[in-house]
Amino acid sequence: MTPNQTDRLATRFIQFLVLIVVLILLFLLGDIIISGLPHISWHFLTSPASSFSAGGGIRDQLFNSLYLLVLTLIISFPLALGSAIYLSEYAGDNWFTSLIRTAIEVLSSLPSVVVGLFGYLLFVIEFHLGFSILSGAIALTFFNLPLLIRSIEGSLHAVPNSQREAGIALGLSNWRTIRGILLPMALPGILTGIILSAGRIFGEAAALIYTAGQSAPILDYTNWNPTASSSFLNPMRPAETLAVHIWKVNTEGVTPDAVSISAGSSAVLIIIILLFNFGARAIGNRMYKKMTGGK
């Protein structure tokens, strides 16, 4: 075989493997969406879940998922941002930094159920936060932090060093340089990172069963007082998210239409994650274009 033939063969082989990966994804998406789409209706999205009769919806679960996502980001984003800035701009190349990095990585590979129980014993019980969205958000912060830190640090790293030098050569403080020059340039990357990590939060179940809980009390969407126990804005109320709902319906669901609820919920979940992904890409591209003056 000549080198050229080998080359062609190898390229074909690589293309073949890529094709398989794409097919796997298409199969997964197809399977989830095709089996779920028929069950999605306006009624399904806007009515509360039912614990034993057919015809329940996922209104509260859907809202809970989104609310939990927002709360988690409010807690984890600033922490991740500060830490990523530390790691990429302040940390020296020494054993301490490498210890911190290892610790963060270990955090990301902990099994969710362990984090869930930790959150349960510490936040739910010890700190008296109870089964609540807040407890869930703190537990999810554990997963989200490593992802966010990694993506923010990566985006900061991708900003050319010449930009840092330009900033400090003008007599700007490091902090001002980071805030005013590096962060804006890293923003598209950071946003993409946030949105992608949002997908993970959205899909997490095991850690939430013990922290945010798995029951969804009836919510009052007209009560805007976040301290009222029935208010949809109350962060101290227990909340079942969409992913937990899928898990519950599949494992212990007694409703006659458990299968279709599960399929419909999975499809909704995937569609939202799809939207997140496309959103991330669109926003990232737009910001990049704006910054480089359309070039």
Binding site: L170, L172, T292
Partner: protein, 266 residues
């Protein structure tokens, strides 16, 4: 490469007012024991252009970057850098003030991903200048001084990244001089530019020398001889010779300098 005696040198002290001087400057990168720059003692005359020349790795850029403490995080610098009777190489000195007074322009143009105006006003605002009138005034003056005003005056709100390389570099110069520094350090500012942009830049530099002390690193000997009044020749981390530019290029004292400026080198 011929081995030269690196300890043999010829260094003059220019007459007249000295803007900046270094005494026994030594630079070590990271944890490296091998110094990238040893015992550099030079004095730079006020309102003149001084060129630092030498082959790649001779330490000229390292030296230049030490002058406004840009090497702080990546290298250890020993020795004195005297500016306004202060050793600015001391950790007690406010490094941000140092850099305000000793500005720097880099090899590759590095404008911020902001509009042309914002590129200039960003650091001014950070320094506490908030008066719109004054900001506008400074933008205009500095762009004029950097000979960029005529080309961009209608596009001040456009992204700086849309400018050409030469324009970007002049914007970077404008950005530096808008801070009203004393001294301007330029690290091979023309190396990424085409000949026409380079020529324009050189004219600009000569204009600027009326108001600023300029120290420029270049590997282009013609450029050094065209723009500078003093020239220092660096070799393997040592300053070999420092004298008036004419002397360096026509009657150097040291053999190594002679070989380098005549092209019989390496």
């Amino acid at each position: 490469m011929q081995a030269y005696d690196l300890n043999k040198n010829h260094i003059v002290t220019p007459p007249g007012e000295i803007a900046l001087s270094t005494n026994q400057l030594q630079v070590n990168y990271g944890n490296s024991k091998q110094a990238s720059m040893v015992n550099a003692s030079l004095s730079f005359p006020r309102f003149q252009i001084t060129a630092l020349i030498g082959a790649s790795g001779s330490g000229k850029s390292t030296y230049l970057r030490s002058l406004n403490r840009m090497n702080d995080r990546i290298a250890t610098v020993h020795g004195e850098i005297m500016y306004h009777n202060t050793n600015i190489n001391s950790p007690k000195v406010n490094v941000y003030e140092v850099r305000k007074h000793i500005g720097m322009v880099f090899q590759k143009p590095n404008p911020f991903a902001k509009s042309i105006t914002e590129n200039i006003t960003f650091a001014l605002k950070a320094a506490g200048i908030t008066n719109r009138q004054e900001l506008r005034q400074r933008v205009e003056t500095s762009l004029k001084e950097a000979a960029l005003w005529d080309e961009v005056k209608d596009d001040l709100n456009k992204s700086a990244l849309a400018l050409s390389g030469g324009q970007q570099q002049r914007l970077c110069i404008a950005r530096s001089i808008a801070m009203k520094p004393d001294i301007l350090l330029l690290d091979e500012p023309a190396s990424a530019l085409d000949p026409i942009s380079t020529a324009k830049l050189e004219v600009t530099l000569k204009e600027l020398a009326k108001n600023y002390t300029i120290i420029i690193v270049t590997h282009n000997m013609q450029q050094a001889s065209r723009v500078s009044s003093y020239t220092a020749f660096f070799h393997l981390g040592h300053v070999i010779e420092y004298d008036q530019t004419e002397t360096i290029f026509q009657t150097p004292t040291i053999q190594a300098t002679h070989d380098y400026v005549t092209g019989n080198f390496g």
